[in-house]
Symmetry: C2
Subunit: 475 residues, 2 copies
């Protein structure tokens, strides 16, 4: 647990009775929550055990209400933290300096599914899976599928530029965002672009906004690209006795000209812990198995998918695969996907941990994995690794285990820094899909020079001259 | 022809002998060109008949030389215009205020084709087609293919976020840029991102740089994504007696779940003029034909492509196609593509013209086409339309014809404004792939509020506090 940084010492104003009164006038009394229970609830997300409650939780329903709130807070220097479904893994939604916790949960409508143009307009509080299922009814697909898709919001996905397994073939959130309605910290409302697939008109504020972690503006509507939903897919689980060999097999698939719709990696511990954590999936795992790859292909032509699977199987065996299990039906597919999606929760339930979201060019994955283990041995920590191998995105979960307070809170940071220096040296970076948020901020200097960080600060200043929006995050 | 705006009146310094001496010290005497012939040559691109020569043309070879030049010009307030292959269609490379014309032609090396990670590192002066052919030798594809690909530079493609026919399936330039080395106007050098497919680390300066038309920094290296080259493609030319019906057929293809690798539209005049312009392609065109669609599908499975072509043919007939011609071999494919790629040059050779680069959601294309013609009738101008129909990107070529000086230089602007207001009202914008450059700047207010433009200015300020880089362009 943590407590808020003192807002006055950072130059911010506390939320006093006058402010509460103003918020009640803007939103109505029933949308303003200053009670401890609500504030505590909105003071944490899924990032470790961190807790930074806002001084007041606001639940607006319209862009204009949000504009009124921001205009007021801009004038009074009250910090505002946008809050989505609180499924984040980097602490982006934590109210570091107290102030207003601005929940987007009431902006939760799918405004339009445009089957003529293959695009949809949604509010930020729509749950990702709800959106996916709504467009599927029209034979369409919204591909980004973070593990938390059953509860996370589209708005949060935009803020963190979320990925998920199918990012591999279809792209991450940024690749699906065409246009955004944004309330600026000064209370003005703009659309960032146009509802078109191509756009060479002015600076790309749409892409600047995606992944900016709620520090530049509040997204209130998003026009998202959709793609035709492929009619068929096939899923296979492949066992390896060497985790590094499994990683080596990954890039071989792409070099053979195949683009799977997912290519996921799980270390042995990740599988074992998840099998214990979910009670309705069973899977025999041989003693020698060190890692699994979960490989999905999709498309409209079943014969072609079958041919791709055969080609992939042959490659996997070349790299030492010991067993290849094909999912026979939807139920088996769902079971395997459940196993993969629950890894994060299972690891969390197993031990106190810190999750790093390393990403490298995919061919460097075996090197990353090996050296992460070496660094662990040097600093005395155990790690469990899994992630989106096809994208070179490896989640490194560092397990508290028997580490002392001193080791966990002080020494470990050096080890994490070493892991990040490694990713950078391999052409990678420190977050692939979780964002910098609060917890990765101390490591920004690993990948950005002071010149670079200075540009970030000036861009922030252009949008948010008083620095009220999600202070202490991302940059 | 135009002459430069007076640089001193805009607060800039002229290039004097001291500056020339300094450039000669940085680059060597042989890389500094102050003669009239060179300056004239580098004072125009493919935009109408505009001419804005720089006071001096510099041809550096390294990022450090560029950094030295920019640092000097930043201190002295000398404007610097980056110049690529001068194939631009919005005047982005014109030295509006004189100053330095910074040619990137000597940074022309493909530094690395990484077949393990499917990416390549190139310098900005590499010709797009040269790059495409180099990666094809490894079985890979760089998909963006502007009509000028035989002469345009990758750096210019990045500056304007260029597209081309295959953008439809594979994306535009921005979708292929992973990471950029950039010399900032202050002379510092940064890498904008990482060499990874996913990245949620800090603001997305990579995407901010793409399409910024050389106003924020000079790209000196680009890490580009590559994809496996599909083994097969099929190409068909479809005739329609109604241009609007042809446009209607376009979105039907996508709604049927097919994503062609190209779907191009050409009005009758575009075809006729191009057939006259290129002397080695002949094509019988029936009297009633009003427009053609050129449709390409690609993939690894010829049977599937055949099935898609049959499905597309059936759809086309539903929308009134009168003839469908399949290209039998590579030679026929090349001939049809040549016809399409040469339309711009053919129109240019036929008459003085202005080219607008409208883009809308694709289902709105028939409405756009119809109303563009209505607006033309209202203002008394003829237009020839063609473009990337699958992307909703319609090039509207306004023909000078019999228009008076007054009509051409004054009245026409009102008509163009009306066309742009139309595209905006359809959810589109004023440039799909050519950029704003110089010639679309008077129309920015059609799509951007003053708040929005103010943010552009402040972002510009963050990168280029003295405003020396490509002044008068884009924003």
């Amino acid at each position: 647990m943590n407590s808020n940084l003192h807002s006055e010492s950072a130059g911010y104003t506390r939320v006093d009775d006058a402010a509460i009164g103003q918020f009640q006038r803007i939103l109505g009394v029933e949308c303003v929550f200053a009670d401890t229970e609500t504030r505590t609830q909105y003071g944490h997300d899924e990032t470790e055990d961190l807790s930074y409650p806002p001084e007041v939780v606001l639940k607006p329903e319209t862009p204009n209400e949000i504009a009124d709130i921001l205009r007021y807070c801009h004038e009074r220097l009250i910090p505002v933290t946008p809050i989505g479904a609180r499924t984040g893994l980097s602490g982006g939604a934590l109210s570091l300096y107290g102030g207003v916790g601005l929940s987007l949960e009431r902006l939760n409508r799918i405004l339009n599914i445009d089957t003529q143009n293959l695009q949809a307009t949604v509010e930020p509080g729509v749950i990702t899976q709800v959106f996916q299922e709504a467009v599927e009814e029209h034979g369409l697909m919204y591909a980004p599928d973070p593990a938390s898709r059953g509860s996370c919001f589209i708005g949060g996905n935009i803020a963190e530029n979320s990925g998920g397994p199918r990012a591999l073939k279809y792209g991450v959130t940024k690749d699906f965002v065409l246009n955004l309605e944004v309330v600026l910290p000064t209370g003005e409302i703009i659309w960032t672009g146009a509802n078109t697939l191509k756009n060479s008109t002015g600076y790309n504020l749409t892409q600047l906004m995606v992944g900016s972690e709620g520090t530049l503006g509040i997204v209130t509507k998003a026009v998202m690209k959709l793609v035709p939903k492929p009619a068929h897919n096939m899923l296979m689980l492949v066992s390896f006795n060497s985790a590094e060999k499994a990683c080596e097999a990954v890039s071989a698939v792409f070099r053979a000209g195949i683009t799977p719709s997912a290519l996921e990696f799980m270390e042995r511990d990740a599988i074992d812990w998840t099998l214990k954590f979910v009670d309705d999936v069973s899977l025999p795992v041989g003693e020698e198995v060190a890692a699994h790859l979960l490989v999905e292909v999709d498309g409209n032509n079943p014969e072609q998918l079958m041919a791709e699977c055969e080609q992939i199987s042959a490659l996997m065996e070349e790299y030492g695969a010991t067993e290849i299990l094909f999912a026979d039906d939807e139920q088996q597919k769902n079971a395997l996907w459940k196993l993969r999606r629950k890894v994060g929760e299972a690891v969390k339930a197993h031990s106190v941990y810190k999750e790093e979201d390393t990403v490298v060019p995919r061919y460097a994955l075996p090197v990353l994995l090996k050296e992460v283990k070496d660094i662990g041995r040097k600093y005395g920590f155990q790690s469990v690794c899994y992630g989106h191998a096809g994208d070179g995105n490896l989640h490194v979960n560092i397990i508290r285990g028997e580490l002392s307070e001193e080791q966990w809170n002080v020494t470990l940071e050096k080890g994490i820094r070493e892991i990040f220096e490694l990713t950078a040296s391999l052409g990678g970076t420190i977050s692939g899909e979780h964002g910098i948020g609060l917890v990765q901020r101390p490591f920004l200097d690993v990948v950005f020079s002071s010149t670079h960080r200075n540009i970030f600060q000036q861009i922030k200043q252009a949008f948010d001259p008083n620095g009220i929006l999600n202070p202490g995050k991302a940059i």
